[in-house]
Amino acid sequence: MTVESTAARKPRRSSKRTSAVKTTAKTPAETPQSSEPELVQLLTPEGERVEHPDYQIDLTAEELRGLYRDMVLTRRFDAEATALQRQGELGLWASLLGQEAAQIGSGRALRDDDYVFPTYREHGVAWCRGVDPTNLLGMFRGVNHGGWDPNTNNFHLYTIVIGSQTLHATGYAMGVAKDGADSAVIAYFGDGASSQGDVAESFTFSAVYNAPVVFFCQNNQWAISEPTEKQTRVPLYQRAQGFGFPGVRVDGNDVLACLAVTRSALERARRGEGPTLVEAFTYRMGAHTTSDDPTKYRADEERASWEAKDPILRLRTHLEKEGTADEAFFTALEAESEALGKRVREAVRAMPDPDRMAIFDHAYADGNPLVDEERAQFAAYQASFADSAEEGK
C-alpha cells in the first residue's frame, strides 16, 4: 500500500450511496463533502458479502458470531448507561449508538500487546480490550476520572480534551519503535478533533519519526451540533497524504471492513512502515452526550437514512442468510444482554462515593508538603463535625 494507491483510489461502490451530509452554505467553490468518496466495504447494508481488491477477510462462523455478540452486548451496555443517566445514576453519558462496527471491528483487529489511546466514547473498544464495562462508568457517575490501570489491558484512560491523546499515542509509538518491539499503537478520535492542532501535530510527529501508530478517526458526522463540513473542506482520510502517509476511508458501519482495514494498518505499522489514518465513515445515532438534543440541529430524515445502514442489523441479516447462526444463538445472546444490563445497573447503584480524603490522593507521585498540610487541615475540619455529633451538640 502506498500513499498514492490509497489516496487516489477510484470509487468502487459509491453508486448506490446517497449523501448523508447536508451542505448548509453552498459556495461557488467546490463542496467536497457533498459528494461522498468511495469507502472500503465488505458487507453491504443488505447483508451481502462483497470483495475488495485491497482488503480481504476470511472469518470462521464462530468469529462472525463473536463480532455480532460484541456489537450486541456493547449496544446493550450503552443503552443501559443511557437509561442510568436518565434515572439520575450517572451525571453524563456519551453514547456510542451507531458506532458499534467501527469500534468492534477496529478493537478486534488489535493484539494484546498493542496499546490503545481512546477518547471518551470508546466503550466498544474497551469491551474488546477486556476492560470491565462497569469500570467505564465511574467517570460518568463522578466517583473518579477513570479509575482503571491503563497497563492492565493496554487501554489508556479516556481523554476528554479533544485530540490530546493522539500525541500521547504517537509518543508511545515512538517508544515502541525505540524498544524494538513489533507491537502497534492506535489512537481514536472524532471528526471534530480532526480540527485540533494536536491531531495535526501528531500526524507530523508520527510521519517524521515513522511511528507505529494507527489513527482511527470515527467520523460520525457531528461534533456536538457542528457537521463535518464545519471541520473540513476535504474528506478527512485525504489529510494523511499531505503528511506523507496513507489514509483510507472505510464503511464505519461494516464491522468486517473495519476489522480488515485496521488489521492491515496495524500490520503496516508493525512492519516499520509508519502511520496510517483510517477514517471510519459512520454515524452517531444519538446525542453527543446526554446533555444535548440532536433534534435541535439535525433532520429526522438524516437519522432515518443511517438507520438503514445499521451495523448490527446488517451482520444479523448476513448471519441469518448464510445460516451462520441459528435461533438458539440469538435467543441465548438476548438473555446474555439482559444479564449484562442487570449487572451494569446493579454495579452502578452499588458504586460507593469515594472516601472524601481521596481528594488529596495521587496529586503527586513523590508527595508534596502543601498537599500534606491541606489534607491534615481538611481531616481536622471533618473531625470537628464528628466531635460535635458525638457530643450531641
Binding site: F117, N144, H145, G146, G147, W148, D149, P150, N151, H156, L157, T159, V161, S164, T166, L167, H168, A169, T170, G171, Y172, A173, M174, G175, V176, K178, D179, G197, D198, E201, S202, T204, F205, V208, D361, H362, A363, Y364, A365, D366, N368, P369, L370, V371
Partner: protein, 326 residues
C-alpha cells in the same frame, strides 16, 4: 572529590550528560537541541555523543513536543524536553496543564509521568517580544506540577539531576540571563532536597526572598545595605512549587521583616502566595507588612525599557527601606 568552576550553562550541560549516561531511558527532546546544541547551547555535544535516538530534534510544535513526551513517559522513558523560550511554552500549555499535570491522579496513581520541561526564562538579555517572560506562577498554580529554578551553577547541576529522577512532572525554569555566571560545582557531594529553600546570606534585620535570576540582585542589595549598617538575610527559594515555607518562617521569626522579589508581575504572582502564607504563620513576629517587588501589570516591555521593568538594586533597596521604616 570533584570541584570545578563552571557557568550555569555548562553545569546544565554536564548534568544532562550525566543523566543520559546514567539512565538509558532518559531522552532529550526539543527544537534545535541536536547539532546546534540548543539556541543557548545547553545541549551542546550531547547528540554527537548519545545519538539522534537519545537527543531528538523535534518538529517546531510545542504541544507536539510535550504531548509525545507524555506518550514516551507512559512507555517507560524519562523525557527532558526543551521549550526554546518562556513565551513559546503556551502552545504546550494545554498538554502540560490538562494532561501532564493530571494523568497520575486520573489513573489513581497507577501511572507516573517523569517528564522535565526545561524553560529558559526571564528578561535582561535585550531580546524581542516573547523571549523574556516569567510565567512561573501560571504553572505553580496547577496541582500536579512542581516548579523549580536554580540561581547558581551548583544548583543548576544538582537540581537537574533531582528533577530527572523525580516521578512527578517538573517545570524547570532556567534563568537565562545568568547562564554565563560561573560558580563552584561539587559534582560528588550529595545535595539537599530539590524543594528546600537555601539561606544564601545570613542577616538579622530583614529577610529577602528571591529565586532564579533575582537571587543575585538580592545578594547585591544585601551587600549594599550592609554598608549602611543593615543586616539582610537572603533566601534562595529554589522551588516555587512546593514552597519551603518552613525555611522562610524560621528566617522571618528572626528578622521580623520580609520582602519578596521576582521578575514576574507582582499581581497574582508567587510573592502574593508567600506574603499571605507568611502573614498567617508569622503574624505576631512581623514588624512590617510583607512587601513585594516585581514586574508591573503590563506586557513585558521592549528591550530598551526592560531595565525599568525589572527589579534592580535600587527598587529592592527602596522596599527594604520602606519595610524598615515601619
Amino acid at each position: 572529590m570533584a570541584m570545578e568552576k563552571m557557568s550555569i550553562a555548562k553545569a546544565l550541560n554536564e548534568s544532562l550528560r550525566k543523566a543520559l549516561d546514567t539512565d538509558p531511558k532518559v531522552l532529550i527532546m526539543g527544537e534545535d537541541v541536536g547539532k546546534l546544541g540548543g539556541v543557548f547551547r545547553i545541549t551542546d555535544g550531547l547528540q554527537k555523543d548519545f545519538g539522534e535516538d537519545r537527543v531528538i530534534d523535534t518538529p517546531l510544535a510545542e504541544s507536539g513536543i510535550v504531548g509525545t513526551a507524555i506518550g514516551l513517559a507512559l512507555r517507560g522513558y524519562r523525557p527532558i524536553v526543551e521549550i526554546q523560550f518562556d513565551g513559546f511554552v503556551f502552545p504546550a500549555y494545554d498538554q502540560i496543564v490538562t494532561q501532564l499535570a493530571k494523568m497520575h491522579a486520573r489513573a489513581l496513581g497507577k501511572i507516573k509521568l517523569p517528564v522535565v520541561v526545561r524553560i529558559p526564562y526571564g528578561g535582561g538579555i535585550g531580546a524581542v517580544e516573547h523571549h523574556s517572560e516569567s510565567p512561573e506562577a501560571l504553572f505553580a498554580h496547577v496541582a500536579g506540577l512542581k516548579v523549580v529554578s536554580p540561581s547558581n551553577a551548583s544548583d543548576a547541576y544538582w537540581m537537574m539531576q533531582q528533577a530527572v529522577q523525580s516521578d512527578d512532572p517538573i517545570i524547570f525554569f532556567e534563568p537565562k540571563r545568568r547562564y554565563w555566571d560561573k560558580g563552584e560545582v561539587e559534582t560528588d557531594s550529595i545535595p539537599g532536597p530539590l524543594h528546600r529553600a537555601a539561606v544564601a546570606r545570613t542577616g538579622s534585620d530583614l529577610t529577602l526572598v528571591a529565586y532564579g535570576p533575582m537571587v543575585k540582585v538580592c545578594l547585591e542589595a544585601a551587600a549594599a545595605a550592609q554598608e549602611e549598617g543593615k543586616s539582610i538575610e537572603v533566601l534562595d527559594l529554589r522551588s516555587m512549587s512546593p514552597i519551603d515555607f518552613d525555611t522562610i518562617q524560621t528566617s522571618v521569626e528572626k528578622t521580623g521583616r520580609l520582602v519578596v522579589v521576582h521578575e514576574a508581575p507582582v499581581f497574582y504572582g508567587s510573592g502574593a502566595e508567600i506574603a499571605a502564607r507568611i502573614t498567617e504563620r508569622c503574624f505576631y513576629h512581623l514588624e512590617a507588612p510583607v512587601l513585594r517587588v516585581g514586574g508591573y501589570h503590563a506586557p513585558y516591555p521592549p528591550a530598551r525599557l526592560e531595565d525599568e521593568y525589572l527589579p534592580g538594586l535600587d527598587r529592592v533597596l527602596d522596599a527594604v527601606d520602606r519595610s524598615l521604616a515601619y
